[in-house]
């Protein structure tokens, strides 16, 4: 199985996003580095709009992730409700 990952800048905007990702993906592992957080997960990782909205108390457009995104790995698929990263092997 291959690992996918996504990394964000460490800041106030990304804190609830990271919390949501970790809750929605129990198999994900958090790797904190200077000024950035990297989330590694075996096989696949999903980011759900609803989970983020629940934490921040407002509407959230998943494309807002672009602002604080650093890097990612895996095949990506994004629609209005979720962003998925996966290796299909």
């Amino acid at each position: 199985m291959s690992t996918v990952f996504i990394a964000f800048q460490t800041n106030e905007e990304t804190r609830p996003i990271i919390e949501s990702i970790l809750e929605d993906n129990p198999h994900a592992v958090l790797d904190e580095q200077p000024a950035m957080v990297k989330i590694n997960a075996e096989g696949s990782l999903v980011i759900r709009r609803a989970s983020i909205e629940e934490r921040i108390g407002r509407d959230f457009d998943l494309q807002e992730l672009q602002v604080n995104l650093i890097t990612l790995s895996g095949n990506l698929d994004e629609d209005d409700d979720q962003l998925t990263l996966a290796w299909k092997n």
Partner: protein
């Protein structure tokens, strides 16, 4: 009468479809193959451009919105950095030499990438990749500009920033390495460009450049660099996705594309890895506070992540690049060999060098248990003893350069780290030298391209690297000093050792002033 606007807003997928596919058309005044003359000569066969998908489904309106937000955040930090004397918060002014190398060697590439993606966008008949290339082209010029802008703050205080991102890239010997890499890609066709830059560089290698290096900048207190680095990197995630989509698209369109794509992957993985030697050196030697070693970064971002990627591409018949065996050996050597080279040529470099201190050598031993103490510590120790005796070692001969990657012949044989590696090819009765099997294969495949290389050492010997009007026959003529003048490199200020430099003295004095009133 009021317009009724009760219709539900378009979803992401519909909006993307309207704003990309809906904007393309078949030309009628001229046939499509005349409008897109570069689309076929490389041999890549595309049957249906509609199959191209941008997984982010980013449209121009959303693009401008988020890019504007990134810029606002970036400039807020840059202002705060300048207003609060942020330059005095860095760990040690030695660190700035990594930034000088970045400004002179990497920022100009962002500009070439801007031009290259604009050209690729122009040359692809498909609407999806055209829009994605357009966005990437705008991203890249933003990167060049924000990097130059952010680092201009250092130019107020420190040596070596004055030539910026434009003058030296076309002249200085080691900068021909990154320059020729991008020139090679830009002078290829649009599909090879996408594999070279979009896939190999952005997807496979860019993490090695930006992530550990920017995290290192944060660790060393350089808020300005971290911020532009991460701001640029937020675009990279999109670029990487474009690179991966592009390769999958080419492979799915026609089975005949596989051998062409595989050849490009082999070529550009090796070309990129050679260029990244400079980054390895920055991570292992130039950051006063280190985040991880080059070898560790290589293992995470190339071996693990690249491994996952190539497993995924295996279903198309793609194999791991053939250079991987040599890279596994090289990861324990190249950063040391590169830094040793710059130490020897510190008089001809536009930044300062130094020998690692005892604590740093212990760190290197721990990170490189198989190689550092055996091959490199003795060399650095010897040079330190020579410097202590007042015989600081400078290498005054000009090295042979690799005809392909343009790096001096400083790398060693994969099976013998005490023996310089070089290969020889013949073309039209002339001999050409390359640094490795990888570069030799690239040369032999397209010798007519690489014999045109502008090799700095050859050019110096031919007398092409002096200011206009130089007369080399005058008494006491010093060719090196004239070359430095042509580089816009001020001898004794911008080059040589960090120890005793103006940067070192000024940083100590200003830091003192920041905490005292006298």
């Amino acid at each position: 009468m009021d317009m009724k606007a009760n219709k539900k807003k378009l979803g992401l997928k519909e909006k993307y479809a309207h704003m990309t596919r809906g904007l393309g058309w078949e030309t009628t005044y001229q046939p499509m193959d005349k409008v897109f003359p570069q689309a076929t000569f490389e041999g890549i066969k595309i049957h249906d451009w509609e199959k191209w998908e941008d997984p982010f489904r980013l449209t121009m309106d959303a693009y401008w919105k988020y890019q504007a937000e990134k810029e606002r955040k970036l400039y807020a930090v840059l202002d705060a950095f300048a207003q609060n004397n942020g330059h005095l918060g860095i760990t040690d002014a030695r660190y700035l030499n990594a930034v000088k190398l970045f400004l002179t060697g990497i920022s100009p590439l962002e500009y070439v990438a801007h031009r290259g993606f604009a050209a690729a966008g122009r040359n692809f008949p498909g609407v999806g990749p055209r829009v994605a290339c357009l966005m990437q082209s705008i991203d890249e010029i933003r990167h060049a500009q924000t990097q130059i802008h952010a680092l201009s703050n250092y130019n107020k205080f420190y040596e070596g920033f004055h030539a910026g991102a434009t003058h030296q890239i076309e002249r200085v010997w080691y900068l021909s390495v990154p320059k020729s890499f991008f020139d090679d890609a830009f002078s290829a066709g649009p599909f090879e460009w996408m594999i070279a830059i979009g896939f190999s560089f952005e997807y496979v290698l860019t993490n090695l450049l930006f992530v550990p290096f920017m995290s290192g900048a944060a660790y060393n207190g350089d808020m300005a660099t971290v911020t532009f680095g991460f701001s640029a990197q937020s675009d990279e995630a999109r670029h990487m996705t474009l690179g991966l989509e592009c390769i999958k698209f080419m492979l799915e369109q026609d089975p005949d594309n596989l051998p062409i794509v595989q050849k490009w992957i082999d070529k550009w993985a090796w070309r990129g890895i050679r260029v990244l030697t400079l980054v390895g050196m920055m991570m292992d030697y130039m950051l006063p506070k280190r985040v991880m070693s080059w070898k560790e970064a290589w293992e995470i971002y190339f071996e693990q992540n690249g491994g996952a990627l190539f497993n995924d591409l295996a279903k198309y018949g793609i194999k791991v690049p053939e250079c991987i065996t040599q890279c596994t050996v090289d990861k324990e050597h190249i950063s040391h060999q590169a830094w040793a080279t710059f130490y020897q040529y510190a008089h001809a470099s536009a930044f300062h060098t130094w020998l690692p201190n005892d604590e740093e050598m212990d760190w290197l031993s721990a990170k490189y248990p198989n190689t550092f103490d055996k091959y490199y510590r003795p060399r650095f120790t010897q040079w330190r003893e020579m410097a202590d005796r007042g015989e600081r070692f400078y290498n005054n001969t000009l090295p042979m350069l690799c005809q392909v990657c343009q790096i001096p012949m400083v790398f060693t044989e994969p099976d013998d780290p005490t023996k310089i590696c070089y290969r020889e090819s013949e073309y039209q009765g002339e001999k050409y030298h390359t640094c490795s099997d990888g570069c030799q294969r690239i040369f032999d495949d397209e010798p007519e391209k690489y014999i045109q290389a502008w090799l700095p050492v050859h050019q110096i010997f031919q007398g092409n690297c002096w200011p206009e009007g130089t007369d080399p026959t005058v008494e006491g003529f010093d060719p090196l000093l004239k070359v430095l003048e042509w580089y816009h490199l001020e001898n004794g200020k911008d080059n040589m050792d960090y120890e005793g430099s103006g940067d070192q003295a000024n940083f100590a004095a200003w830091r003192g002033m920041a905490t005292q009133n006298t």
